[in-house]
Symmetry: C2
Subunit: 600 residues, 2 copies
């Protein structure tokens, strides 16, 4: 069975040494509290993840969820773990004190998220979806809705969902058919079918708060006619206890490739009573409040799975004896050498290590931006928001693509044993596979990045970020950093040039955006991680220069950065070429002719 | 449920137009028969795959195999399908007429294999393993063993296995512990535990013939002390019927990520009666007779899964309506455009298409070499054997890596639905995952290619192949082929240069081989497929020039080649850089320091 140890040393490195969270917290309201408790939160979170969630991951996968008479039973232990989570006060950590929250920075919650996702992704989705619902209510809910529902979500006694997808539409929400008819009493009757509803029905909490996209009668067509509604499983009584059952039911559970421990439901709304959240026909923007946070959350899943796959394949690589090193036996006293001596096994280990540590730095940096957007001064807020918008699709898509590759490297290190369920490595791969899909596929993120975030403002947001990277490279020049800053400056410059070329081509043909977008996103991810690795190497070099006692830790950080620069960053070369290949290479073949090899 | 249509048009293109199989068959003993029946075999094979095997694929995955009282039950319909396979005479197709075979070329069997693997990989492994056993017996078995066992395998009434792996060793077979003690009557008592035995126990056939690696008493240590034994499940009676039960039992079935319809067994040999196959202590070379054919067979699995994933994601991409094309609506009469209008969806479709068609050309070329090794003149045989040795690790590893990526592209096109079992796309991914592992992982193939096949003879074998490519480029110069021959000549030259550089570095440090091998193998695969795409484009251009009526088919072939050259071949750039990064980037980090991020 896989094990997990929260990487506290590296988390502290990123939080305190790289990103100076303590200084950052002092700029936030109530930030001194955060500085004080941050360490305790890491320690307690680690215990919860390691001791409570990790042991339930494999069994949760094997047992799965079951549906009987409309009730979903989650795998053994999930409910008790959720109770512990609520009793520990975890749901309220980063929430508004006015509604029962502890008011700690969101970034702390995101650090905790990494641990939860590494230890048990399927379980983590139950509280995870609640946080999306809390975000939407905090920003768009009326005071009554907040008092009635947000307080319960923050307490953790109720959980939330996001009901967007319908059988015929996922990406294209303008096509939704679910209807909401206004009633006399300012409520609405919501009718329709939603699919892929994570945590749509379960036995962890006493009530479930669905946030549902639906159309009002005579709403404009397309995305401009979507509204957001709150539909509780049980209508609350005046004393806040769950009352009568609402007309919303789980019709079926999906049979999925992974995340078996999470209930993925078909939800039938049969004239269920709902409440409007925000303005009529403005549901899509309210939905994006949930979605943006959710997208970063999914990026964390990619990175968290990378970390746990890495830890387990490392243990196996140290333990498994097979063949001798080509350069001569390293463990002559044993029947064979441990496979970690083989360079190709190390290539796979270091790939995972680099994606996990690089991804962590990127995510925690994003987390800092989230804090600033939530609580910063107006100017800081606007800047942070712009950069956050640019980085969100990179975090979501690049880290989940890397996460899938990394969990596969982890499985591969186990050889044939990796394919066997009891080792747990194949579960990480199956669980990781969903992260490339939900909350917007990689292709959607790529269009969001290149089309909306970069080209829509003529590259202005990107320019701000590349300028920041450029300045870093210049400032680091006189330190022993050229092995990093030279290649970084080169790809950073190329990033701008590629953007310009695609932008020019797109003025002639909008399809050039879609034709370049995937490669562009991956390219952007590699450059972004290179930026963070250069910074991490710089911090490590400075610590070494100042005579730290932790030589090995900082040296390992530098070697990981070197591996990244010499083995992974070169992938930008291939991406730069193929992204400029043009739309014709994709569009010349007519739709009918795709199947001529097998269609008679 | 996924569908499958054998790509007969493209198979005929590769067999007849690209590789001139009819001319090739005339050079083989009994080859005129092959020319005559080839088409009927394609047609009948297609029917069997499409109508019998395809409908059992998803249900076989969901039902899996079960073990009770030592007996394994395969999924519903598997047994009946196997009976039809036997009644159709398929097992005997390419086998020796002296033992009941039809004596048709092996290449025809490999074409059939593509269809079987596309339609039902798990089922296909039952007869697939038999073919490995037949190969070993044909080459190394005594006349008595052949008359007793090979005839039954060829008939298909009995099936075979390869029993190599043990719990503590897979790659490193020198470590095996299974023992074979000689008895008075020229038999042996075989004792030990073998794991991951595909088709080790099942209900399809009346007897199972295990080919087992074991050590004789006082055998030399390591791989030089391994012998090969035949151990039947039932000892045959004199009349050829199965007699008394031998002491070999299936102890357990493995719970696996995929290929659920195939029984993957732990096999316990408790003093089972066995017969020596070939010479004592020469078991490893006998084993490699099975293994080389098996490796190409696994390459076919990678390509076959690519094909079926492509077909199904193409159908979905034409059907699913979602968003409008960025360049303006393509189906204004519908609620949204079919997703095939989106360039990024086409990128994923074309990636699958290119890997399937390029892989098919490479495999069928390899199949031709297999025919020549089996039946060619002495000189042709030696040349074919050398080239086959070089290409085998590329076929095995490159096409399974491409197959895993391609099945994932297929799943991705389905969006969230791809993650749901009923669509069948996630099964292709799970099934494809094993192909990167069994019969030698990708890492092992990479070492085989670079270390053994290329560097061990100072690049001589590779030089012969690159010379062939070079000549092709030169000869094609005056046709309209420069868009292909120029980049091909460039990477072909670079292939030799990279080999030289790594060879030089390896003279200083043998670990440089392992450090470069994975990237080198992938690089080699991309160049090799480019060679076949250039040839296919040439054939297509000639057909177009000669006024074919199938304009669309040949034009599609050229567009696919263009896509490959402009979108996939550039990956060589990244691989060329990273393979030269050197072993230091992998070895500098000490084994202890890999875990400093999380180990306290």
């Amino acid at each position: 069975m896989p094990t997990y140890k929260a990487p506290l040393r590296d988390m502290r490195f990123v939080m305190n040494e790289l990103l100076e969270f303590p200084k950052h917290y002092e700029t936030l309201p109530g930030g001194s509290d955060a500085v004080e408790v941050a360490d305790a939160i890491l320690e307690e979170g680690a215990k919860f993840a390691e001791n409570v969630l990790t042991p339930l991951n494999l069994s949760g996968d094997q047992e799965g969820c079951s549906l009987k008479d409309g009730e979903v039973t989650t795998p053994k232990g999930f409910k008790e773990a959720y109770q512990q989570y609520v009793e520990g006060g975890w749901p309220s950590m980063s929430q508004d004190p006015d509604y029962g929250g502890q008011g700690l920075p969101h970034s702390l919650g995101m650090v905790l998220n990494e641990m939860i996702t590494s230890s048990n992704l399927a379980w983590g989705m139950y509280p995870g979806l609640s946080h999306g619902a809390m975000d939407a209510l905090r920003h768009h809910g009326s005071e009554v809705l907040k008092q009635t529902y947000l307080t319960k979500l923050i307490e953790g006694t109720w959980t939330g969902t996001m009901c967007l997808t319908e059988p015929h539409c996922g990406t294209d929400l303008g096509l939704i058919k679910t209807k909401a008819e206004p009633q006399d009493n300012e409520t609405y009757r919501v009718t329709g079918t939603k699919i892929f509803i994570s945590a749509g029905e379960h036995d962890l909490a006493e009530n479930i708060v669905h946030l549902v996209l639906a159309k009002l009668p005579d709403a404009p067509a397309g995305t401009k006619g979507i509204s957001l509604f709150l539909v509780p499983k049980f209508m609350p009584n005046d004393d806040g206890t769950p009352g009568t059952r609402n007309a919303v039911q789980c019709g079926a559970l999906e049979h999925k490739m992974g995340i078996h421990g999470n209930s993925t439901c078909v939800m039938n709304f049969d004239g269920a009573t709902g409440f409007l959240v925000g303005q009529p026909n403005k549901g899509l923007s309210a939905m994006f409040t949930m979605m943006n946070a959710a997208r970063i959350g999914v990026g964390i899943q990619g990175q968290g799975l990378t970390e746990v796959a890495y830890q387990n394949s490392l243990a196996y690589a140290r333990d498994r004896l097979q063949m001798r090193a080509l350069s001569g036996s390293k463990a002559p006293e044993k029947a064979a050498d441990p496979i970690i001596v083989h360079p190709d096994v190390r290539r796979m280990l270091l790939t995972q290590k680099a994606f996990s540590e690089g991804g962590r730095a990127l995510i925690y940096y994003t987390a800092k931006l989230v804090d600033q957007v939530e609580h910063g001064s107006d100017e800081a807020k606007a800047d942070a928001d712009e950069l956050l918008g640019l980085l969100t699709p990179i975090v979501k898509a690049f880290l989940t693509e890397a996460g899938f590759d990394s969990t596969n490297e982890g499985l591969q290190i186990f050889g044939g044993h990796g394919f066997i369920a009891e080792w747990g490595m194949e579960q990480f791969v199956r669980d990781a596979r969903i992260t490339r899909l939900y909350e917007g596929t990689t292709g959607i993120q790529a269009l969001d990045l290149l089309g909306r975030k970069v080209l829509m403002n003529q590259g202005e947001s990107l320019r701000k970020f590349t300028k920041q990277i450029h300045k870093f490279c210049q400032a680091a020049e006189d330190e022993q950093m050229s092995e990093f800053t030279e290649p970084l400056a080169k790809v950073n410059k190329e990033w701008g040039e590629l953007t310009m070329k695609i932008g020019m081509a797109a003025m002639q043909n909008r399809d050039e955006v879609g034709a370049a977008s995937f490669d562009y996103l991956m390219y952007s991810g590699y450059v972004t991680l290179a930026y963070f690795f250069a910074q991490m190497a710089q911090v490590a070099q400075r610590q070494l220069a100042s005579g730290t006692s932790e030589t090995a830790f900082y040296q390992a950080k530098i070697e990981t950065a070197r591996f990244y620069y010499q083995r992974l960053l070169p992938r930008t070369q291939a991406l730069a070429t193929s992204m400029l290949a043009g739309a014709d290479t994709l569009l010349n073949l007519s739709e009918d002719d795709f199947g001529l090899a097998f269609e008679v």
